[in-house]
Each structure stands twice: as structure tokens, then as C-alpha cells.
Amino acid sequence: MVGSFRAELVKLTKRPAVWLLLGIALALGALFAYVIPYLGATTGTAGPTADRGLAAVLPASIVGNTLAGYPVFLGALLVVLGVLFVGGEYGWGAWKTVLTQGPSRGAVLAGKLSVLTLAALGFVLAIFLMGTVASLLIAAAEDASMTFPSAFDILRGIGAGWLIATMWTMFGAVLGILLRGVALAVGLGLVWMLVVQNLISELAAPLLPWVDSAQRGLPGPGAGSLVSSLGAPVGTPGVEAVLSGGPATVVVAAYLVGFVALGAVVLRRRDIL
């Protein structure tokens, strides 16, 4: 198990695609959470989010503002990370190479998912750091308050971000296992994240009451409700308050556990071809 963890860590940190995903997440996060809202607040005209004003991009709002990306766009990047990290083993036919060295499938998967969990934390911390730097720069430029939320709020925000980020990477990982590869898993994962979730919440839920109740049990609305309860601005794609913070945490955590269990069962049972 320790050996598998070490091996997976080398595979993750030396893989250029992982750093590319992180770079894209940071660049897009900075652009959509800070640069565009800042420019909108200072120079823009009235738009759907113009009323948030400068306050949304100052250090005091860092928790909600950095968490707002996790239900959809940062989530999508994390799904891609999960798929790449697990599905790649099928794509390269590397399962047989790894497993003939002797570790059990359970040990390899445990190592893999532990490293993914760690990667999700790194991802969340990097986004938070980006938010810190961006909000401080804006506060300095506008001569505004540089007060951050309390340490408890910050830690709670990072914890929630980590939980959601890990859940999405596990979603990607289980797709990689179920579909035994990368291409279809990434494609279907993104269709779910970017299309189906939106169709359910924007189109189906307002029309049909039972869809509205059912969607409360889905991972996207769970993540959206969790970040919303911590201050993410409603109106950001995927951020919605269909559940309060506690139940939303339970939903996200339940999916995390469910994805891990499903992945473990399927990987154990199937032949490695």
C-alpha cells in the first residue's frame, strides 16, 4: 500500500497533463472569479452580476468566491484529472505491467485514490492561494479593506472545496474504470457536468416537481448547495441553494464513498485484458 502510494505519486507529479490542468484551472479561475468581475465592477455596465460590485472580489469574500467554481467548471477539470489518472492505465495497457509486479488490485487502487485525494487538496489550496493574491492585489489597487474571513471560515471553506474536489476526481476515476479508458469517460463525464446537470436544474426541475425533488440527491446540486451555504454567489453556474449546508455535505460525501466503492468492486471483479 505504501509502495503503491509512492509509485502513484511519481506518476502523478511527473505527468505534464496534470500540471496543464492545474494551470488552466488557475488561469480560468483568476479570469472568471477575479479579473472579469473586477473589470465589471470598476468599468462595466449593468449586467446580470454587476450588482455584486467590488465587494465580491475583495479578501473578505475569498471563501465564497473561490468555491463558486467547484460545482461546474473546476469540477469538470477535476473529473478530467480523475479519468486521466485511472483511465490512462487502460489506455496504455499498464494494468498488467503494474499488477504483475505483485501488488493487489485493492492496494493499487487505494494508492491511486489516496494520491488523487491529495491532488484534490493541492488543487484547492492552489486555487485558494490564487484567490488570496488576486484579492489582495485588487484591494491594494482600490485602497479597499484587506481583512480576510476568520481562520475557521477559511478552513471550513478549504475543507468543503476539498470534499467536492475529491468527489469529482472519484467520479472521473470510476468512469475510467467502468469505461476502461480515457476518451469515452472524459466525454461522458463532461456531458454530465456541463450539459445534463444544467438541463436537469434549468429545464426539467422547474417543469416537473418530482425532478425538482430528485435533483436534491444529485452530486452537482449537492456541491452547488454546499458552496452556496458558504457564501458562493448564487447565479454562478451550478451554484444553487436547493439544500442547506449540512444535507449538502452529506450528499457530496455519500457520492464520494459510493464512487470509491463502485470503482473498487468493478476493478476487483473484472478480468484485466
Binding site: 509502495g3 503503491s4 509512492r6 509509485a7 511519481v10 506518476k11 511527473k14 505527468r15 505534464p16 497533463a17 490512462g88 496504455w92 495497457g93 499498464a94 494494468w95 498488467k96 505491467t97 503494474v98 499488477l99 504483475t100 509486479q101 505483485g102 501488488p103 493487489s104 493499487v108 478480468d271 484485466i272 485484458l273
Partner: protein
């Protein structure tokens, strides 16, 4: 304890039977060749040995233990598969971590397969031959007492093939048990002590290479050939003599060559050549497997 024992090993994929009731024993210290046409079930059998594929029926024991415990077992199945973004050395580093092997083994195995000079280059830049050698290096990481190699010379150029065979013979001579699969007769006859031939998922012959080849009789060039043939049919029986390419293939103990020669000369036949005839391995193989490839 025999390194490899299969009893009634069977694998079905739905209606398709990949391996059926396969009994196989590989003895300690031997180089065993697992020979068969494409699609005969070789790789599926090896995957079952290593626990990658679950048998539908039957039993597998490696060193007396059921699949799952691969300590002391090294393997390369159906071509090398590594991480293209890592160097050869980093790929081995990753695998050594999985195997719980000390990092200094990496240099040892890189030297064994003559890949040390290129070990810091990305795997993606390797030639097919280098990839294959890295695959063997990975299989040797654990310093295994049982080495399972699936078509180890696939994709290698003639020099690479010769190197690979020499390496396998060296490993065999050093006391390792080696199980290699191949569809190349010449290869197996050069490297292996014993050969099992598999076709349509069943083991149809198991023997030493020498026994398989067998000294099957005499090859005789004589004139007039028809007269020689009818004389020998009279002496040895009709079934023992066939006319092939203007000469005679005779099924008889080669030790009787002198006696046969004398008898032919006495019968007025002029004998220009008389030598022991070994069975052509390819012929044996085609006869045994029905001359078909199951590769489809």
C-alpha cells in the same frame, strides 16, 4: 514444489472457449516453451497464471500457491506497456515501488537488457526493440525464480532476437525457471528444454524438443527410385516407404542404415545418399495443430 501447475484450466468468454481443460506442469529450472498459433490460447493461459484473468474452471498454482501471490515471479504479457511520459528508469522506479524492490535493482536490470545508456530518455521515444527490452527488465526487477515471458522476441530485429534468446538462455542456465510463449518454432527449439503445443485452447503435445523432432527414419537417394521403393516396401512394409521429391523417406530405425544399404545394393539399386531423417519441426507443428491459425 513445481513452479507452475495447471489442472483442467478452462476459460470461456460466453460461447467462445479460449482455453479448455489445460493441464500443464513447468518443472523447476527448466526453460519451457509454450508454442501455438496465434489465438490458440497462450496469452489467456498466461494471464490466468498471473491472476489477471479469472479462470472459468480448473486450478492454477504458482510455487504451490493460488494466483495472487506473485513474489518471486516476473512477467511480461503481450508486449511491453509503460507510461510514455516517464523515462525508462522512472518507469522501473515506479514498478520497483509497487514490487517493494530496492532501487538499486533498477541499474542491475537496465544493464542486463543493455538499456542503461538510454534509461533517462522518455519511454515514448524508444524503438520497439527498446520497449521490449524494458519490458523484460521490468520482469526481472524482482530477481524472479520464475519468469513468464509472452512472445518476448516480438517486434525485435534479428540481432535483437538473438540477444533476447541469449539472455533467456543465460537466465535459464543461472537456475531460473522460464516459461515463454511463442509462435516461432525455431525460437522455441533453440531456447527451450521442453515444449508444450497448444491449439484451439487445448494442450495437444508436450515433449522435449529432441523427442518432438525425433529421429524418424532414413532419407535415401537411389536409382532407379521406383525399383528401390518397391524393394523396400517388400522388406519393411508398404506404410514405411514414401517417395518424396525424387527420394525415399523411410520409417525405420536409423541404426539399420548399413543393413538397408546392403539390401538395396544386392537388389540392384544404386544408392547415392543415405542419412538419418529428423522430423521437420514445422511439419510436426502443422500436423499437430491441423495447420490452422486461430487468429482470424
Amino acid at each position: 514444489m513445481e513452479p507452475v501447475v495447471c489442472e483442467k484450466l478452462t476459460k470461456r468468454y460466453g460461447e467462445v472457449v479460449a482455453v479448455q481443460d489445460l493441464d500443464l506442469v513447468v518443472r523447476a529450472g527448466e526453460v519451457y516453451g509454450f508454442l501455438g498459433p496465434n489465438g490458440a490460447g497462450k496469452t489467456t493461459t498466461l494471464r490466468m497464471l498471473l491472476g489477471l484473468v479469472r479462470p472459468t474452471g480448473g486450478k492454477v498454482l504458482l510455487h504451490g500457491r493460488p494466483p495472487g501471490d506473485l513474489s518471486g515471479v516476473g512477467a511480461m504479457i503481450e508486449g511491453p506497456a509503460f507510461y510514455p511520459y516517464l523515462s525508462g528508469r522512472d518507469n522501473l522506479r515506479v514498478l520497483a515501488s509497487y514490487a517493494g524492490v530496492e532501487a538499486r535493482r533498477i541499474d542491475v536490470v537496465l544493464d542486463l537488457v543493455d538499456l542503461a545508456a538510454r534509461s533517462r530518455h522518455k519511454y515514448a521515444t524508444y524503438s520497439l526493440g527498446m520497449k521490449q527490452r524494458l519490458g523484460v527488465a521490468a520482469a526481472l526487477l524482482k530477481d524472479p525464480t520464475l519468469l513468464i515471458l509472452d512472445e518476448p522476441t516480438n517486434g525485435l530485429d534479428p540481432a535483437g532476437m538473438a540477444d533476447m534468446r541469449a539472455l533467456i538462455r543465460r537466465l535459464g542456465a543461472a537456475g531460473s525457471t522460464v516459461l515463454i510463449s511463442s509462435h516461432l518454432l525455431a525460437e522455441v527449439s533453440q531456447i527451450c528444454d521442453r515444449v508444450g503445443i497448444i491449439a484451439r485452447g487445448q494442450l495437444i503435445e508436450e515433449n522435449s524438443v529432441a523427442e518432438l523432432r525425433g529421429a524418424a527414419g532414413l532419407r535415401i537417394q537411389a536409382t532407379p527410385v521406383e525399383h528401390a521403393a518397391s524393394w523396400l516396401r517388400l522388406v519393411l512394409g508398404t506404410a514405411a516407404v514414401t517417395v518424396v521429391d525424387g527420394g525415399l523417406d523411410v520409417t525405420v530405425d536409423p541404426a539399420r542404415a548399413g543393413e538397408i544399404n546392403e539390401s538395396l545394393v544386392k537388389a540392384g539399386v544404386s544408392v547415392s545418399e543415405l542419412r538419418p531423417r529428423e522430423r521437420d519441426l514445422e511439419q510436426v507443428f502443422l500436423e499437430l495443430t491441423g495447420g490452422e491459425s486461430n487468429g482470424r
